[in-house]
């Protein structure tokens, strides 16, 4: 019963999660853009609303992440990419190379790193992700 109460309180605390706006492009090994891929950010705490890649392979989504979801933590968020129902890609968000970052807290020394972005939130444009061999 106490666990239920704690779960309810934890749900209320969801407002403290950081929002990360994430965008990028999915391509194949020939650098061709891949439309219709399903992209989402997932951690043990939940999954962002999945989005499809458009005709040019681009996607953009928003993920609410707990403030302590640093790349080294066991609860690290992953970026997942599905082709229909097949999982094609799952890598820790913090391992993906970034092209552009616009952190919320620009005063922080680590603002433009994954640690800073996952802690304070912001906008990230990823470098193109290549699927396949």
């Amino acid at each position: 019963m106490l666990a239920l109460a704690c779960a309810a309180i934890a749900t209320v605390d969801a407002g403290e999660f950081q929002v990360l706006a994430l965008s990028g492009t999915i391509v194949d090994s020939s650098q061709r853009p891949l439309p219709g891929c399903l992209v989402s950010v997932v951690s043990e705490f939940g999954r962002s609303a999945p989005v499809f890649t458009e005709a040019d392979g681009k996607f953009s989504l928003e993920a609410s992440l707990p403030p302590d979801s640093f790349p080294t933590a066991a609860s690290t968020p992953f970026l997942e990419i599905y082709w229909d129902r097949t999982l094609m890609f799952r890598q820790p968000l913090g391992s993906l190379p970034m092209a552009i970052t616009i952190p919320h807290n620009r005063a922080s020394a680590i603002a433009s790193t994954w640690n800073g972005l996952l802690h304070d939130g912001g906008t990230v444009v990823l470098k193109p992700i290549k699927l396949g061999k």
């Binding site: 439309p35 997932v42 229909d84």
Partner: protein, 194 residues
């Protein structure tokens, strides 16, 4: 608004029952053992006796009775806190409908049409516009805006541009590279809406 009030009352009642029963146990007014161990009468009373139609629940354990009532209050609170829902269903008019994936834009999870192309998902009742995005690997996603308050015939029909012909992917599926798939230490939530 009414749902929120019921949820708060139910949750507070559950919490009050838990705290109250802990205090009663601490003061010795109730015990964890069965009543029949203490009451030496011919007809032993029940701590809990509920009869709903053919379902009869009886217990001689007062703490269990309190626990069940508190659990009921919490369940009621959780149910009402979810708010009213509305089922938004559709039918995908395509020979290969079951190969497609449907997302309700901005909402959690995805749904997969069945063999007849039927799909459905609950959305909050106060949502005025739902944008369905339907796609499969290699094809551009197609969008279908739906105004649930104005729809009278459910499920809504979604006709894809490739209707009538076997849908073929415009871009071939890339080969799976297992080195790109990390196994997580902890279980992750599923992609599909539960």
């Amino acid at each position: 608004m009414t749902e929120s009030i019921i949820a708060i009352i139910a949750a507070l009642s559950g919490m009050a029952l838990i705290v109250g029963s802990l205090i009663l146990i601490y003061k010795g007014r109730i015990a964890l053992q069965a009543i029949q161990d203490k009451v030496k009468e011919v007809q032993q009373p029940d701590a809990l006796a509920v009869e709903i139609g053919k379902i009869k629940i009886k217990s001689q354990y007062p703490t269990i009775a309190l626990f069940l009532v508190a659990a009921g209050c919490f369940w009621l609170g959780l149910e009402y806190s979810k708010g009213p829902k509305r089922m938004v269903s559709g039918t995908l008019d395509d020979p290969l409908a079951k190969d497609y994936t449907v997302t309700y834009k901005g909402m959690m999870g995805v749904v997969f049409p069945d063999d007849n192309g039927h799909f459905e998902q609950e959305v909050p009742a106060d949502v005025n516009l739902v944008i369905l995005e339907i796609a499969k690997g290699g094809l551009d996603p197609q969008k279908f805006p739906i105004y649930p308050g104005k729809v009278t015939n459910w499920p809504v029909k979604c006709q894809l541009q490739q209707t009538g012909t076997a849908s073929t992917a415009s871009v071939p599926k890339p080969e799976i590279n297992l080195s790109q798939i990390v196994q997580p230490e902890k279980a992750l939530p599923p992609l599909k809406t539960q």
